[in-house]
């Protein structure tokens, strides 16, 4: 059993986008702040810090989660992927194009979070799992697009990928 005092700086090593980062942090540091302020990965946005807006969504061991509701100290050996990590994927170009061509974003503040969730759900859809897109998208607030462009982008990507469900 290990106990870290509230005012102590704790060494942690986090695996983010395939790199290991070692930092000294306060026990209370939120993962969202860790990514943004400690690592400079500012693509993860913060819009509510109570788990509703979805702007801070990242992949944790491949599943989308809210980084504002996770403590950096509690991540352990979980693998974290942020928008900056997804961008490096070869398939991301097609993804970016679909979002742009279908005007799936305006101010772009919700976008990295939306992209992370949609990316993961599309992967599941291509593994022939059925995806409830209302369920996926309801985890993100977008105040700009009315979600119309986002759904169109998803449909375009599915048409390409031969996915099974409808957006």
């Amino acid at each position: 059993m290990t106990r870290y005092a509230k005012d102590q700086r704790v060494p942690v090593t986090l695996a983010v986008n395939g790199h290991e980062y070692r930092r000294w942090i306060e026990p209370r540091l939120l993962l969202s702040d860790f990514l943004r302020d400690e690592l400079g990965l500012t693509g993860t946005h913060v819009g509510c810090e109570h788990g509703v807006c979805g702007a801070c969504t990242i992949l944790f061991n491949g599943a989308p989660v809210r980084s504002c509701l996770k403590l950096a100290i509690d991540v352990g050996d979980g693998q974290i992927t942020t928008i900056e990590g997804l961008v490096k994927d070869d398939e991301f170009d097609a993804f970016r194009q679909a979002f742009s061509q279908n005007h799936a974003l305006q101010c772009g503040f919700c976008t990295p979070g939306v992209v992370v969730s949609v990316w993961e759900a599309l992967k599941r859809a291509s593994d022939s799992e059925s995806v409830d897109w209302n369920d996926v998208l309801s985890g993100h607030l977008c105040r700009c697009t009315g979600y119309v462009g986002i759904r169109r982008a998803i449909m375009a990507l599915q048409a390409k990928g031969g996915g099974k469900t409808e957006a």
Binding site: D7, E26, R28, L29, R36, L41, T42, G43, T44, H45, V46, G47, C48, E49, H50, V52, C53, A55, T82, I83, E84, V87, R96, F99, S100, Q101, H103, L105, Q106, C107, G108, F109, C110, T111, P112, V115, W133, N134, L137, S138, G139, H140, L141, C142, R143, C144, T145, G146, Y147, V148, G149, I150, R151
Partner: protein, 800 residues
């Protein structure tokens, strides 16, 4: 082929999708920044007895603390455009007037430490009576919020156009109703953010903020900081995460942070958190309207009488009371009504001060007006569509001067209405709805809303809050101006600086389309700088992104700056080639003459002005750096008769909503939504549709979900995103159709009108009309929760 008018995906998208946008929270523009947290009032109204900051020394990492009284050394109250302004500072001094009002500012090494510091600050309050109800506030005020407004009325004006009294007396049918539009707000997913730096040696302030119209309140802020305007430099970040108007109310915080930087001697940064935003940023004005409308037996809309009370919150602050006046020129909507009486009250209550929210002033007007049309139709036993058709302004009446002075520039209202009715299958659905009556708990309904959408606000409209006599003592205000600069460097690189501070509308792309068309160069050769710097961007009081002004104003400024560049380059080419410049034109970035292509390109010509200015012919100055100020026509100051053309152009839209309402559970499902717009020429239809989609979502939210609800004590009950209900993808209409007509705006070179706010003005009315139709009750307030629906059903059935 012209790029303008094409659906071109945005240049902004790449960086934003990749997470490489640069938002205010991402910036650390100067070294040594400290982080600010703000202690806020837990009371809606109280006297501050004591503020004890003595324990701050026990918290590690604290830089310093400021209370309201400290501000008196460096600030003056904010000016505001009403005859009797109240004293408003960005932080409470001795008395708090709304829950969330700043009381203490702490700066520390991190936001975490700053919040820890707030925990040890103690404030004692003596609670005062709370003013919450708008009508009570001004009719039987329990207490005056400000000494110089004993009845809590910050602005009161009456207007008479034509002879409404006689017209109402002679009307066959009078419709009278009281409507309540709630407080709601914009909820951009990015909150406010400010970085401020006071440079002691020069006394200059630099403030970075996600404010999308820094010039509009530049003078207000400089006045509050007691400096001349050149000493307050405001910069916006490259990207702003949505605003929909509400971020204009970041300005008190810009001043607060600037003062904090000065008093504490370090640069400071504050990123508002969501709870702060919901509680204390800004909100749309709630409004109570008493409307009387007079109709002839055959359905002629003859006269309109409106008495409206706006809740502007604890302090009237700029640009309020503009909610009451933004739509003054289009008070009568799409209808030809010549007799109007209007009485306006801006009332102060113990709630957060109000300000811009998408649609500004529009939903507060159109919800009552378009409901009245449906109520009248029922009373006259006419179809609501037919009643509207009988009263809309006809195509041959344009330009149409409204009773209150608006100049509707162009339009074809009947055919837009027809398109909308056809696209929605209006008749067939009404038939279907009738057949469904009495079978099960679900009722169908259909509702129309018809909206004249103003864009490009006349800076002078706000002064109509003063009487003509008061105005006569001031200098007149008018205009809707925008500026842009097109520059070409020595190697042909083109840079365009714009003044619209977009927050997602895609101006960087549309500007490329415009300039690429004029200079016939590829869009990729153009870079657009959209972030603003009040020290560099051409100073235009009215610049920024509000009142849907880009298409009408900003785009034309870009066009005219690009024209200037073209004219200059062609004049240079004419002299080089020894021909008359009228014989020359650009094609594919190259000068063409009567004989075909020459070897003079845009790059080469620009190069000549830079590399070898001594050989430039007379009349051609070195360099290519052309700024153009574009002013929209017909935006004059108010007349002595209180006539005001409050906006430069007026688009038009018709919405038709179909709903299914479960009378037992109160559930409303929007089955289908059709919206047909006429915004003149569309600069980029892909982006125009995006604005409309967003506007529909926004309007739908205000109709069904969103309200800043307060209890009697002035405490906000919907202060988090768990209870302030922003629609998600699942709440969008099951089907949404957007169609366009294209009646160009005659007064502008590009012919475009603004759009994007219209559906916020229409959706509440359209959905309320549909629900009223489904239930056979008259809905007079929003939003329509299951609870309000079931209660109105019970009332109708005499059970409530």
């Amino acid at each position: 082929m012209s790029l303008l008018g094409q659906s071109i995906p945005r240049f902004e998208d790449g960086r934003l999708i990749n997470g490489q946008g640069q938002f205010i929270a991402d910036l650390m523009p100067v070294p040594g920044i400290k982080h600010v947290a703000i202690l806020r009032s837990p009371h809606a109204h109280a006297r501050i007895r004591r503020i004890d900051t003595s324990r701050l020394g026990t918290v590690p990492g604290v830089t310093g603390v400021i209370t309201g009284r400290d501000l008196l050394a460096v600030l003056a109250p904010f000016p505001v455009g009403v005859p009797q302004p109240v004293t408003y500072y960005p932080m409470a001094i001795d008395r708090v007037r709304y829950v969330g009002e700043p009381v203490v500012v702490v700066a520390a090494d991190s936001r975490y430490a700053a919040e820890d510091a707030l925990d040890v600050v103690e404030v004692d309050y003596d609670p005062l009576p709370v003013v919450s109800d708008i009508e009570t506030a001004c009719q039987m005020p329990p207490v005056a919020l400000h000494e110089n407004a004993p009845d809590n009325v910050a602005n009161h004006r009456e207007f008479t156009y034509g002879d409404p009294k006689t017209a109402l007396n002679h009307a066959d049918v009078l419709i009278q109703e009281r409507f309540v539009y709630p407080r709601n707000t914009a909820v951009p997913i990015e909150t406010y953010g400010v970085v401020a730096y006071y440079e002691r040696s020069s006394g200059d302030y630099t403030v970075w903020a996600n404010f999308h119209g820094p010039f509009t309140l530049h003078s207000v802020m400089a006045h509050a900081l007691k400096v001349s305007t050149q000493k307050l430099r405001i910069k916006t970040p490259q990207d702003i995460g949505g605003s929909y108007g509400v971020k204009s109310a970041v300005y008190p915080y810009m001043v607060l942070l600037a003062a904090t930087s000065r008093l504490l001697g370090c640069p400071v940064k504050w990123i508002e958190d969501r709870l702060e935003h919901m509680k204390a940023s800004s909100s749309a004005s709630a409004r109570i309207s008493y409307v009387t409308a007079g109709f002839s037996r055959d359905g002629r809309f003859q006269a309109l009488h409106i008495k409206q009370y706006d809740d502007v919150g604890a302090y009237i602050r700029a640009p309020e009371p503009a909610t009451l006046y933004r739509v003054h020129g289009n008070l009568t909507g799409a209808y030809d009504v010549r007799h109007v009486h209007l009485e306006n009250y801006a009332v102060m209550t113990n709630r957060v001060p109000t300000g811009l929210v998408r649609g500004y002033g529009g939903p507060q007007l159109y919800f009552p007006l378009e409901r009245i049309m449906d109520i009248a139709a029922r009373r006259l036993k006419m179809d609501p569509a037919a009643l509207r058709r009988a009263n809309v302004i006809q195509p041959d009446q344009f330009p149409y001067r409204t009773a209150s002075g608006g100049i509707y520039d162009s339009g074809d209202y009947p055919s837009v209405l027809n398109t909308a009715l056809q696209a929605s299958g209006y008749e067939a659905f009404r038939e279907k709805a009738r057949n469904l009556q009495d079978s099960g708990p679900v009722r169908l309904g259909i509702g129309i809303a018809v909206v004249v959408e103003p864009s490009g606000s006349n800076m002078g409209y706000v002064t109509i809050a003063y009487t003509p006599e008061e105005r006569a003592r001031q200098l007149p205000k008018s205009g809707a101006v925008s500026a842009a600069t097109v520059a070409i460097d020595a190697l042909g690189g083109i840079t365009v600086q714009i003044d619209s501070a977009p927050e997602g509308q895609g101006h960087e792309t549309v500007v490329r389309q415009i300039v690429a068309d004029v200079l016939t160069v590829p869009m990729a050769s153009i870079r657009v700088i959209a972030e603003m710097d009040t020290a560099i961007t051409p100073w235009t009081i009215s610049s920024g992104s509000y009142s849907s002004r880009f298409a009408a104003a900003g785009a034309n400024a870009v066009f005219s700056a690009a024209q200037k560049v073209k004219t200059k380059l062609l004049a240079l080419a004419a002299q080089q080639l020894g021909v008359d410049c009228k014989t020359l034109r650009f094609e594919e970035g190259r000068v063409w003459g009567a004989q075909g292509a020459t070897d003079l390109t845009v790059k080469r010509l620009a190069g000549l002005t830079h590399w070898n200015p001594s050989d430039l012919p007379a009349g051609i100055s070195p360099g290519v750096y052309e700024t153009s100020y574009f002013s929209l026509p017909n935006v004059d100051p108010p007349t002595t008769e209180d006539l005001i053309n409050s906006s430069a152009t007026y688009g038009f839209l018709v919405d038709v909503a179909k709903v299914a309402v479960n009378t037992e559970t109160g559930k409303i499902t929007v089955l289908d939504y059709v919206t047909v717009h006429d915004a003149g020429r569309l600069l980029n239809p892909l982006l125009a549709d995006g604005q409309i989609h967003g506007g529909v979502a926004f309007g739908l939210g205000s109709a069904l979900y969103e309200e800043l609800r307060y209890d009697e004590e002035g405490q906000l009950l919907t202060g988090s995103l768990m209870d302030y209900l922003v629609p998600t993808a699942s709440e969008m209409p099951e089907s949404l159709t957007v169609l366009h007509h294209h009646t160009t705006a005659p007064g502008t070179p590009l012919g475009a009108k603004g759009l994007g706010e219209g559906n916020v003005m229409s959706a509440g009315a359209a959905i309320a009309n549909a629900v009223s139709d489904a239930l056979g009750v008259e809905i007079c307030s929003l939003p329509l929760s299951p609870r309000t629906v079931t209660e109105s059903v019970m009332k109708k059935e005499g059970r409530g």
